[in-house]
């Protein structure tokens, strides 16, 4: 973990240096001095930044939880039931490559401009990865392990608890790591419409007001939220997946 923190810190330092150099070269308002941007953080609480972050995080967590629950159930069903697999497999593979952002107008029309449509879109981005990961993990479980625990007299619930769930957790965490970046990008896009809260709104609002300092501040905060989520997944992996 220490090594990862060092890598992130180094990356952040390099990016800021590049940013500063570009600022020095071009001397334009569009690329402000990073030091000025960081100094403006003293307004962090007055601007309601915490509330913006909380709203964005709530939308991401809600989307992730729904995607995890639904995705795990659908993926598991597809793995254990040939009938369910036959029904759902074409549907999943047809809809998986469709860019979900293209569905934003449809989702907003059906579910309104509020938080629900944003959560649904995030769910749709993450769920396919979860379905495929869970299905493949369950199909790949060593049959001998299942025979072994069944011979002990294990019930289906005990097989799920002792074998299936621990087996699929590493795959789910990897999927989350892959999809969380996409979810953040989509969140930024979604929060441009029908809301006055959230990091996406904050950045786009500052942009329309030509307040580049706030805009960059919003970008830094949103990036930090993304990095924090990555760290959270790493910590979860270290705490849960101890056997690797």
């Amino acid at each position: 973990m220490k090594k990862k923190v060092t890598v992130y810190a180094e990356g952040m330092l390099i990016i800021n240096l590049i940013w500063y150099v570009i600022h020095l070269i071009f001397q334009t308002r569009i690329i402000p001095d990073p030091i000025r941007v960081y100094r403006s953080f003293y307004l962090f609480f007055q601007e309601g930044m915490l509330w913006h972050i909380s709203i964005s995080l709530w939308r991401i967590f809600a989307g992730v939880i729904i995607a995890l629950l639904l995705g795990a159930i659908i993926g598991y069903k597809m793995a254990v039931s040939e009938m369910w697999n036959k029904i759902l497999n074409p549907l999943v593979f047809f809809t998986y490559p469709v860019p979900k952002t293209a569905l934003l107008p449809v989702i907003m029309t059906i579910f309104g401009l509020g938080g629900a449509s944003k959560i649904i879109l995030i769910t749709m981005i993450i769920i396919f990865q979860i379905i495929i990961t869970v299905r493949d993990s369950v199909v790949g479980i060593d049959k001998e392990c299942i025979y072994n625990i069944r011979s002990m007299g294990a019930s289906p619930g005990q097989i799920l608890y002792h074998v299936v769930i621990p087996d699929i957790i590493p795959g789910i965490l990897t999927s989350l790591r892959v999809t969380i970046g996409s979810a953040l990008s989509i969140l930024f896009f979604c929060e441009a419409y029908g809301t006055s809260w959230g990091m996406g709104y904050y950045i786009l609002d500052a942009w329309t007001r030509i307040d580049y300092i706030s805009m960059y501040k919003g970008i830094i905060v949103l990036s930090s939220v993304g990095i924090a989520l990555f760290f959270l997944i790493d910590i979860l992996e270290q705490k849960i997946v101890k056997w690797r």
């Binding site: 060593d142 001998e144 002792h162």
Partner: protein, 260 residues
């Protein structure tokens, strides 16, 4: 006592039903160790799974002590080729798993038994490690330790030491032989090794090529000799090898060589 009556095992492939083994009628007395040897594909593992209560495609009857076999009712310990230990549980938690599955209390008696068995199997130092952190020999010994935790009515082993090198295998075999004797376990062992069968088992059942049927049922009297180089032991292994050669003649050189 394990009783198998007219058991035939089937498997499905490309929608067709194939006869894997049987009909087989076999009895294994309490505290007896029985080894099954046969050519590849003769249905040894399928037969073992029938005894474990996890194979559905079979006809005939399997009973333990007069009752129809049910994993929830009988204490069955099945050790597959890959040990069957769960990679996400420590060796300790793997050993305690059968106790948890049967919802037995994790009391002092259980922990004393765990200590005794793991000491006997010489794995008491690796209890807090994960299966990926121990050697192949330790893994198989841990699998045996786990199987003994619930005082099994029937211990089933599918080529438990096939992946080990010669020295480790002999060490593990010696240990298993002592443990089986001391714990008075009723055991069925599937193996490709005639020497292993003769050394570990009281009886050796020889199966024909697929579909596997019993062609010989040989009493080894293995308890009468301790040394692997005992004349009777090597003679018996040679007799079984000759019997197998004669029986499987024409089955294919490649396949008959699979028993060595």
């Amino acid at each position: 006592m394990l009783e198998m009556t007219e058991v035939s095992v089937y498997y499905e492939s490309n929608g067709e039903k194939h006869h894997a083994a049987g009909p087989i009628t076999l009895q294994v007395a309490n505290s007896e160790t029985c080894a099954i040897i046969g050519p590849s594909g003769c249905g040894k593992t399928s037969l073992l799974r029938v005894m474990a209560g996890v194979q559905n495609n079979f006809t005939g009857r399997v009973r333990i002590d007069g009752n129809d076999l049910k994993p929830a009712l009988h204490r069955i310990a099945y050790i597959p080729q890959n040990s069957g230990l769960l990679g996400w549980k420590t060796i300790r938690n793997n050993c305690l798993l059968p106790v948890k599955i049967r919802k037995l209390p994790l009391d002092r008696e259980v922990y004393l038994r765990l200590r005794e068995i793991t000491r006997r199997m010489e794995i008491e130092d690796i209890l807090d490690r994960y299966p990926s952190q121990v050697s192949g020999g330790q893994l198989q010994r841990a699998a045996v330790a786990r199987s003994l935790m619930i005082k099994p009515d029937l211990l089933l082993m599918d080529e438990p030491f096939s992946a080990l090198d010669t020295l480790t295998r002999e060490y593990a075999q010696n240990m298993l032989r002592c443990v089986l004797r001391d714990f008075k376990a009723t055991a069925v062992l599937v193996t490709h090794s005639i020497e292993e069968a003769v050394f570990l088992a009281d009886r050796v059942i020889v199966l024909s090529a697929s579909p596997g049927k019993i062609i010989a049922d040989i009493t080894t009297l293995s308890s009468e000799y301790e040394d692997r180089s005992a004349v009777r032991y090597t003679k018996l292994a040679a007799i079984i090898r000759q019997l197998i050669k004669e029986e499987w003649e024409g089955y294919g050189e490649e396949k008959s060589n699979s028993v060595c």
